[in-house]
Symmetry: C2
Subunit: 131 residues, 2 copies
């Protein structure tokens, strides 16, 4: 595990997945993280650098497929599900669950982009340590 969480003291400690999912500020940082790793993964698959913005619908779909919907209150819209996915993905990186390169590999290994995001979400969920 890396010590990213010591490097980035602005990140609070979360007690549960639900807490992470509902943090709108963390989701905004997560958005920039996800666009970066997704762009790297797509660059790998295309064999040339690209830069993309990951669509919220794709993230919400991956979030649902990973079975994470149950940790959010009911009647949460797809936009908030996408936010929850972004928050989880960057938090796992900060906690050292995966490096940038490891996260890119998981995404790039999967032909289907939603499947790649789902697998990364599952890895994050499984490995994030809670006190």
């Amino acid at each position: 595990m890396s010590k990213n969480h010591l490097k980035f003291p602005f990140i609070q400690e979360y007690k549960s997945l639900s807490e992470i999912f509902m943090d709108q500020k963390l989701a905004r940082l997560g958005d920039s993280f996800v666009n970066f790793i997704f762009s790297l993964a797509l660059s790998m698959r295309k064999g040339a650098p690209v830069g993309v913005k990951v669509k919220g619908g794709m993230l919400a779909e991956a979030f649902k497929k990973a079975g994470l919907r149950k940790f959010l209150p009911s009647r949460i819209d797809r936009h908030k599900q996408a936010d929850a996915a972004e928050a989880l993905l960057v938090y796992a990186w900060i906690k050292g669950v995966y490096s940038i390169f490891e996260s890119v590999k998981v995404l790039a290994e999967n032909e289907n982009e939603i499947e790649g995001l789902k697998r990364l979400l599952l890895l994050a969920e499984e490995k994030i340590p809670f006190k």
Copy 2:
């Protein structure tokens, strides 16, 4: 130096700064990189996570202040100067000039955001190895 360039084989070898600056595809990947490290740096300074999109004007200004304008053909507009800055910054990370955390530190240490970007551009220019 890290071995990021071995991890990301889609990145070509460049012979000069000018070649890097003119690569529009690399600039698109660079855009997502710069938004991510800038968001982390701003999060550090604010003490809470944020996500921002770095304005092209800011990048073009930092590029000019770093004295890099001379490596581009004349009559290149500010949009292309911002692209050149983005291409350089991500390429330096890929070549292992700085880690994510090191780049964030350079940005976060500077009160003035353009000054932080300028210092990171200068570090990249100084340390990128050419064959």
